[in-house]
Symmetry: C2
Subunit: 163 residues, 2 copies
Amino acid sequence: MREKPLFDVKFSSTGTCVGKLRNEVTIKAIEPFQTVNTLATDEGKFQGGEGTAPTPLEFFLTGLVGCLMTQMRVFSRRMKIKVDDVVVTCDAHWEAYAGEGFPYEGQPVGFAVDIDVRSPEHETRILELVNASRKGCFVEQTIERKTRIDHRVRVNAQSWAEV
Amino acid sequence: MREKPLFDVKFSSTGTCVGKLRNEVTIKAIEPFQTVNTLATDEGKFQGGEGTAPTPLEFFLTGLVGCLMTQMRVFSRRMKIKVDDVVVTCDAHWEAYAGEGFPYEGQPVGFAVDIDVRSPEHETRILELVNASRKGCFVEQTIERKTRIDHRVRVNAQSWAEV
């Protein structure tokens, strides 16, 4: 039987269209804390946007880098592994291929993450911390696993269709 | 032989530690456009942060919702499928399990995305647009596939170790 989770993490986000390609996304944290934040995305001229906000991929990458860094800082305290500073660099690469009957299909090529640590600890302990932080990082775990996204669509307030 | 991509998408992001758990992430777009943006993440008291910015997961979810919405708006024009408005809702759920020798391990449970469309088109055409947009969405494709993240670690400016 599966063990019980220590805690659940639940968010509900709603995005609305504003401007040419600007989206405003309101994110409600439900568990384990409650907050509401609104973040805006836009596109530059390449995609037909107006550049009023960073692109969705920049938010996505900030989520990835920020989540891993947070995990390292939180886990270093909890695992008593002293870290004086961390700089994380992430090189991300995707490719777009011609779609059949639609503009293009996006595919991830890969992510290369460099973790530059300043610490009085032995390297072995730092590798232990990095490996623990990768497991603790919700974003890394979502990207590295095959994670399902279920979709429903509704047109003009009619009934929902699964896609 | 693999076909040639229509275009590549490349970003390089660097995150630095500022404040208790605040991270500042500078994201440089390299291809197919060039921009530089800095976004900050923080944590609330639950994690020991100061709440000066949204959490990494909120950035991640904004990236997911925003990318799908952008794709629908861009593809609707290119596929000549008229869409008057789109509201996208995403319910996200993760679980944290006790780790062996470290605080916890994060696991995605799933994402439920509802796409609420206002359009004069037949539902069939809208479903076609949604399916094309999912394929075009770099974030969805990254989450739904098993995507590799390579890591290197360096301690006190010594040599890089793969992890």
